[in-house]
């Protein structure tokens, strides 16, 4: 099997993240590539949460797809929620102690799903219990049902590892680790590595090791054919296995951010928590001040303040917080203050779907704040791009002395991927035009250039104001000065156009002479590239146009795509309702995207649905609204 796709589900707060992490580490250690997405409600404990992963030994996976080969269920709700997603011949690991559970008496299942289940059970003439469903799956769907008695497993653990009864329940999530490791035949040293990464040392580690052996014994008793991933053919070397949030945090530390302010918000906050963990950066004299502010207004304005003193500074937020930063952003704009805001996109509008993903904040980040000032808007397509984009964003902010917004979607932020370690020696730190010791004659906003030489507060005396100002930084309302100063600032957009080369703004994958071009951005990259492969296998020549910078926009290349393949054959693929990148395509090039594949349920776009939708577009459909995923 080329790739293993699994879903692990359980109640939020029930240990699922641990399970997923251990498995990710273990797979990575044994040479596989992994991508693992986390889906959860805006809830702390109890609601259904799941991990959806792709593991592969032939290529580092950057896509998720349905059906999956395996569903590992911590609870009955997981089975009721995901049983339809298991492929024929796939596996279901579940707790047979819950065989009597009925879906309609599980309070956390939302009404709509209950109604759909009701229909399904009726249509298929099955009773409403988990047990009956399991039988149905085994018999009618050719699914290998791995029915385990979780409580008896835990009892065995109690005995063999002398875990006290009250603590045994902490190990429910380990059942999935053990059974998947055993089913897939993960080597024991890789599994041990995964467990050690997570639990370091001590009791929990030991118990988990013992427990996985107990579980393996039980799994051996099932006679099903095992899923076989084969040996990995991936290159050996150092891999970074981390979430998008963590990749950005690493890049900020390495890229020289020394002041990060934030106010907690999903899905941005994890980045700041990681920064806090590394606040000593790694050296005796290096540190980062991570400043938890009272709100996002204070987050952005304190970061701007820090930037004026010469510290590379940044903040991270998502929609509601970004809205509150709008005014501060404009101050940075008129004051030519370098500042980076990492903008994690979740489902909107308003509080929306706070723990789900989206790409619906593009327009607001391009146009946020009243008045006119230059800005740069970058967007990342995968974990490695997120890393390098952060480095670039920091450089751009200082080179052009202007705010930079870096868009990351929640799909990327909260999914864990394995990526070859970045070649740190390639990192450039470009601080732009700096001066020191100019003395009394220092004019912060010198007209000599669009990017005036910048001194740091503390080194020179200078003035800043959000009002229109003269070269010195004092308020000035004269028309002539206004024209000069506005022009100086806005001219940066020309400078940016010139200095960020077209190739930096996009990437093009797939067939050189395509029948159809998918145009997308952000986390769509991985699934789109994989879709090209599938489409090619089905005889369809397709390519994927990936937008990496929205300001500046890859005009030329977009225009040439439209010219070369024709407007009818470019498909807008986005995780939002209105096709926001499409809006910017129109705005920048005049071309209208006439075909759209959109998804706005908060769940990522899956390989199978993208392939299917693309084919439907090829057969004449002009719009596909995707809906897959629990």
């Amino acid at each position: 099997m080329e790739e293993l796709r699994y879903i692990l589900g359980g109640p939020q707060g029930g240990g699922l993240e641990t399970t997923s992490e251990v498995l990710s580490w273990s797979f990575a250690k044994s040479g596989y590539g992994i991508l693992s997405d986390r889906e959860y409600f805006s809830n702390i404990k109890g609601r259904h949460s799941y991990v959806h992963a792709t593991v592969s030994g032939t290529a580092i996976p950057f896509h998720l797809s349905y059906p999956v080969n395996l569903v590992g269920a911590m609870d009955a709700e997981t089975v009721f929620t995901h049983f339809q997603e298991i492929d024929k011949g796939g596996y279901l690991i579940y707790n047979k102690d819950e065989d009597n559970a009925k879906f309609d008496s599980i309070p956390s299942i939302e009404t709509e799903l209950k109604m759909r289940l009701n229909e399904f059970f009726k249509a298929n003439g099955i009773g409403r219990t988990l047990g009956e469903l399991a039988v149905y799956l085994a018999e009618k769907r050719q699914i290998n049902v791995v029915a385990l008695g979780y409580s008896s497993l835990l009892r065995e653990l109690q005995q063999e590892a002398s875990v006290i009864a009250a603590q045994a329940s902490r190990y429910v999530s380990s059942i999935l680790i053990g059974s998947i490791a055993s089913l897939v035949g993960l080597d024991s040293s890789s599994l041990a590595f995964g467990l050690e990464r997570r639990f370091r040392s001590g009791e929990m580690l030991e118990h988990n090791k013992i427990f996985s052996k107990i579980i393996a014994r039980h799994i051996q008793t099932f006679s099903y054919k095992r899923p076989n991933l084969g040996k990995s053919s991936l290159n050996r070397g150092k891999m970074v296995v981390a979430s998008g949030n963590d990749f950005v945090a690493m890049a900020k530390l390495v890229g020289g951010v020394r002041f990060q302010s934030y106010y907690p918000i999903t899905p941005a906050a994890d980045e700041s928590f990681t920064l806090e963990k590394y606040e000593k950066v790694g050296g005796d004299h290096d540190l980062i001040v991570v400043f938890q502010t009272e709100d996002e207004i204070a987050a952005v304005t304190s970061a701007i303040g820090a930037s004026l003193t010469g510290a590379r500074s940044a903040s991270a937020t998502s929609g509601p917080g970004f809205d509150l930063m709008t005014e501060g952003l404009g101050w940075a704009g008129i004051n030519e203050a370098p500042i980076l805001v990492t903008y994690y996109q979740r489902g909107g509008p308003s509080t929306g779907q706070p723990t789900r993903g989206s790409q619906s904040d593009l327009l607001s980040s391009v146009f946020a704040s009243h008045g006119e000032f230059p800005r740069i808007v970058l967007s990342s397509g995968d974990h490695s791009e997120a890393f390098w984009d952060t480095i670039d964003a920091l450089n751009f902010a200082e080179m052009f002395q202007t705010p930079v917004i870096h868009l990351v979607d929640k799909f990327l932020a909260n999914s864990i991927a394995s990526t070859p370690m970045p070649d740190v020696s390639k990192i450039q730190v470009q601080r732009g035009s700096l001066v020191k010791k100019v003395g009394d004659e220092y004019h912060r906003f010198d007209f000599s250039s669009s990017v005036s030489p910048r001194a740091f507060i503390g080194d020179e005396r200078m003035w800043y104001t959000g009002d229109e100002h003269n070269e010195i930084g004092h308020i000035d309302e004269d028309s002539e000065n206004r024209i000069k100063m506005m022009t100086k600032r806005m001219d940066k957009m020309n400078l940016i156009e010139k200095n960020i080369p077209e190739e930096r703004r996009y990437a093009l994958y797939g067939d050189k002479d395509p029948e159809i071009v998918l145009l997308g951005w952000g986390f769509i990259k991985g699934v789109a590239i994989k879709a090209l492969e599938q489409l090619r296998n089905e005889g369809i020549k397709a390519s994927y146009f990936h937008i990496r910078t929205f300001v500046p926009f890859p005009n030329e290349s977009v225009v040439s795509i439209f010219r070369n393949v024709g407007p009818e054959r470019v498909v807008d693929v986005e995780c939002n309702y209105e096709g926001q990148a499409g809006v910017l395509v129109r705005l920048n090039t005049g071309y209208q995207l006439k075909k759209r594949i959109v998804k706005f349920t908060g769940r990522p776009i899956y390989l199978n649905e993208l392939v299917e939708a693309t084919k439907r577009i090829l057969s004449g459909s002009s719009q596909e609204v995707l809906s897959l995923g629990a």
């Binding site: 050996r236 970074v240 000593k280 001040v289 204070a298 500074s313 501060g328 020179e460």
Partner: protein, 314 residues
């Protein structure tokens, strides 16, 4: 820059000061010029940060670094500046609307941190620059001339609020007692921690109630013989806070000027940071080298060392 011997006049910029003739703000900058001269403040290391309002223009009138920020946001800007370069001497000039209206959340948050800086509030009871609406310092029932009807919101008590919020130096002064104000500013600068000065500042254009005459009749200075605002040991904190709050209720007939509360014991935010990041004061964020010849200071080996938790070798 070496501190030079500058006179009060040297701390004045040549920007034309466009406050209304007679405005209380003139007294405030005069006191600042003198205080800065007497403290031999280095203009490049002194930062005057202001919000938006008549008061907000102060940053342009003082010949040190000036940062004229957004309405209500002077404090978070100031904290970003100060925390990334704790060697700076940071003075904030904020309007009462700025600080206790739109910016109130930041005002209280600063108290909780005790960052070492000085907040001077231009207490003129009105939103002056927008033409005289009620500021949060205006008492209920008062009707300064720009209002159609008497004010129906109660005023806040700035002193009590500052004490309650954790400011460790809380004082009141008056723009036309320039000497008193100058000395208060110097004390506030010397104090380690967040210092707040409520400065009575007649707005001669919009506030026809709290005039010079009004204040001149009422203000009196707290004297050392019967007033001791200083916390000597931790056990005294609550009692001194209570004493300050009680005193702050005196606002009608007699208005006390002076230090209401002074607590040198609570550690500053900078000290709190230093405790977990020992190199913080020596090489704060603004002073760190982040590159060597255009390359990051974190090379490949260091990357592996720092982020070992994320790295798997296969």
């Amino acid at each position: 820059m070496e501190p030079k011997q500058l006179t009060a006049a040297d701390y004045r910029t040549d920007v034309w000061n466009d406050w209304c003739p007679g405005c209380g703000n003139f007294g405030i900058v005069a006191a600042m010029y003198q205080a800065l001269a007497e403290m031999k403040a280095d203009p490049a290391e002194t930062v005057v940060i202001s919000g938006i309002g008549c008061s907000g223009k102060t940053a342009h009138f003082v010949n040190t670094t000036g940062v004229h920020t957004l309405h209500g946001r002077s404090l978070p800007f100031a904290q970003g500046i100060k925390l990334s370069n704790p060697a700076l001497n940071v003075l904030i000039n904020a309007g009462d609307g700025d600080l206790l209206g739109i910016g109130l959340g930041h005002f209280v948050a600063l108290g909780r941190r005790n960052v070492d800086l000085v907040v001077m509030m231009h207490d003129n009871t009105v939103y002056a620059l927008t033409k005289g609406q009620a500021a949060p310092t205006l008492h209920r029932g008062e009707k300064p001339k720009a209002l159609n009807e008497p004010n129906i919101q109660d005023s806040v008590n700035p002193i009590a609020l500052a004490v309650t919020s954790g400011y460790t130096f809380v004082a009141r002064s008056y723009s036309s007692r320039i000497n008193h104000l100058k000395e208060t500013i110097k004390q506030a600068v010397r104090h380690k921690g967040s210092a707040f000065i409520d400065i009575l500042q007649p707005c001669v254009t919009f506030d026809d109630i709290h005039t010079y005459d009004y204040y001149n009749k009422r203000v009196y200075e707290l004297k050392a013989d019967d007033w001791n605002p200083i916390v000597k040991d931790e056990n005294e904190i609550q009692q001194k806070m209570m004493q300050a709050i009680a005193k702050s209720f005196e606002v009608d007939d007699r208005i006390p000027l002076g230090v209401f509360y002074e607590n040198p014991l609570t550690p500053t935010f900078e000290e709190r940071l230093s405790e977990k990041l020992p190199s913080y004061l020596g090489t704060p964020p603004s002073r760190e080298k982040i590159e060597k010849n255009g390359k990051t200071i974190v090379d490949g080996d260091k990357f592996v060392e720092i982020f070992s938790q994320f790295i798997v070798e296969y």
